[in-house]
Structure formats: structure tokens, C-alpha cells
Symmetry: C2
Subunit: 150 residues, 2 copies
DNA sequence: CTCCTATAGTTGCAAATGCAACCATAAACC
DNA sequence: GGTTTATGGTTGCATTTGCAACTATAGGAG
């Protein structure tokens, strides 16, 4: 930085570093438990929260903040593993739906056990409830703002 | 989640989503400006803050929160682009040092112009100075805690 | 109805990443 | 000194990701 960094810029830098460190740890812990990577968890979780455990590929991409081609490949692998099923969309001839299987639900639950442990231990333990609430609110604003932009 | 998510878990979820969205945007903006990816910026920034603009490969890995093999490849490309130079470490026959070139310094400055604009616009604009300070402190605790763990 | 454009999803190919195996040197041990 | 163990860095290989091109269907304009 040419001028010395502003408080917001410092916060940004830590934001990136902390997340990188946390994700590294969590991925390693999942791998050690012989569970799939976080990317799979995200898909499973998004589907589980969708009506009927079923979503269009593009919705999956938007909610998961990943590219459409990435969703195709991700669900390819997950379908091979029996966690989701894809089918032609009845309402739109171009579309494909992706839905959670029972095995997918069970896998999400198993992963959550480990994932939750890590979140609580590495992240939650370092912030107060009030801080968590304020942080969530802050981030929500940022997310909302991004969704409104072109 | 089987039980409904705690405030800390909600904060975590937004933490991940917000960062993914922000990084997507920033990478896209850098690419549109025909600048290298963020990963290069991080290396340049870390080197610029090091004494003499020079660090050992493993220090680079630790500070940048990336794997050592990744550092090797990253600096391979950056060296080809003339932004850094590697040399055998004088004090340790096994070691390699990586140092910033003038061109590397200039590139970091050019990237920072764009990067800073994005941070301020997408992140800084949504949080108050007090929130930024509290956030930075919170994240610092998390980072410190992670560094102390095995 | 036909043409034109936009959207949904997949795929080929290139670039990036992680992991494990590897070579070289350093440090510890006897 | 000679052997063993740990550390620093790179490389091969498999996996993952992104981008651009492509196919197919939908929706709108004339």
C-alpha cells in the first residue's frame, strides 16, 4: 500500500487471512474424517433448504456462489457418489433439476457433525454472541449490496 | 443443520458467502483491467513488507497461507513475468530466497490502485469505522488462536 | 409462422491446486 | 566421524477450476 492502510483495509486483510486459515483447517479435518470436501457440503446444504430438496442447476450456482460449469462438474461427482440425482426439468425443456437423495441427506448430517465442531471450536470460541450478531449483520449488508449491483 | 443454527454459525455462513462474492468480483475486475490475479498481489505485498523485499520460500508460504508447492509454482510464473527473482539462500544450503524486482514493486502499486478501489467500494462502504476496528480485532484473535494451535 | 436473441446447461481445453514422493542439505545423536 | 532424522524446496500426477465455445430450448418481434 502506498499510503498506510485504513482501518477498513486492515479489516479486509484479516478477513481474507482468517478465512483462508480456517478453511484450510476445516478441509483438513474433513479429509482426516474421510468425508468429502466443503464444496460438497455447500451443495447438500443448499439443496436441503430448498423446497423438496430440489433446485435448478442455475439456482444452485447462484446460491453457492460458484460458476455454472463448476456446478455441472460438482454435481457430476456427487451424482456418481449417489448423493444427488439430476433430471430434466418438467417446466423448462432447457433446464435440469438437481435433487438430494436420502444418502445425500445422511451425508450432510455426518459432515455437519464434524463441520460444526470445527466452526464452534475455531471460530465461535473466539467471538462473543454479541459480536457474532453484529458480524452477521455487517456481512448481510455487504451481501445484499453485492446482490443489488449490476 | 439438524438443530437450528446458532448466531455464531450464522455469522460463519455469511462470512464464507460474503468473501466468496467479494473475491469473485475483485478477481473479475482485476482481469478486466488486464492485471494478474489476487494470488500474485498477495505474494507481492508480503515481499514488499519483508525486510529487503526478500523472503524464504517457506516464510512466503506461511504468511500467504498457501502450500509450499503452490508457492513454488506461483513464484515460477511470477519470475517468468519478471516480478520476482529467486536465488539460493546464502545461510542455508537447502533454502531459496525470493525477492521483489522493481517491476514487481510497480506491478503491486498498479494492482493496488484497482484492488483498493474494490475494497473500499464493496466492503469498506458497508461498514463503519468502528465496525471495521472491532472486526479487525475479532479476526486478529481468531488468527492468533489458529497460529497457536498444533 | 419464422427469425432473432436470450437463457440453461454441458463440454473441451488450459491453467491452477493439492498430495505424495523425491532430492538435497542441515541438525541431532551415538 | 558416521548414521539417523528433520527440514526446505521442487516435481509428477491426479483433481479441480475457469473460460470460451457449443447445443438446445424458450420467448419476443415482425
Amino acid at each position: 500500500m502506498t499510503a498506510s492502510p485504513t482501518p477498513r483495509q486492515i479489516a479486509w486483510a484479516r478477513f481474507v487471512t482468517a478465512q483462508a486459515m480456517l478453511l484450510d483447517r476445516i478441509e483438513a479435518t474433513l479429509a482426516r474424517s474421510e468425508l468429502p470436501p466443503l464444496a460438497w457440503y455447500d451443495v447438500l446444504w443448499i439443496l436441503e433448504n430448498a423446497h423438496g430438496g430440489c433446485l435448478r442447476m442455475s439456482d444452485l450456482a447462484r446460491k453457492g456462489v460458484i460458476s455454472r460449469s463448476n456446478v455441472t462438474r460438482l454435481t457430476d461427482r456427487m451424482e456418481k457418489a449417489g448423493l444427488v440425482v439430476r433430471a430434466d426439468c418438467p417446466e423448462d425443456g432447457r433446464g435440469t433439476t438437481c435433487s438430494l437423495t436420502d444418502s445425500g441427506r445422511r451425508m450432510r448430517a455426518r459432515m455437519w457433525l464434524v463441520y460444526r465442531g470445527q466452526i464452534d471450536e475455531l471460530f465461535g470460541s473466539q467471538i462473543s454472541a454479541a459480536e457474532a450478531a453484529s458480524l452477521a449483520q455487517m456481512l448481510e449488508r455487504i451481501i445484499e449490496n453485492l446482490r443489488e449491483l449490476p
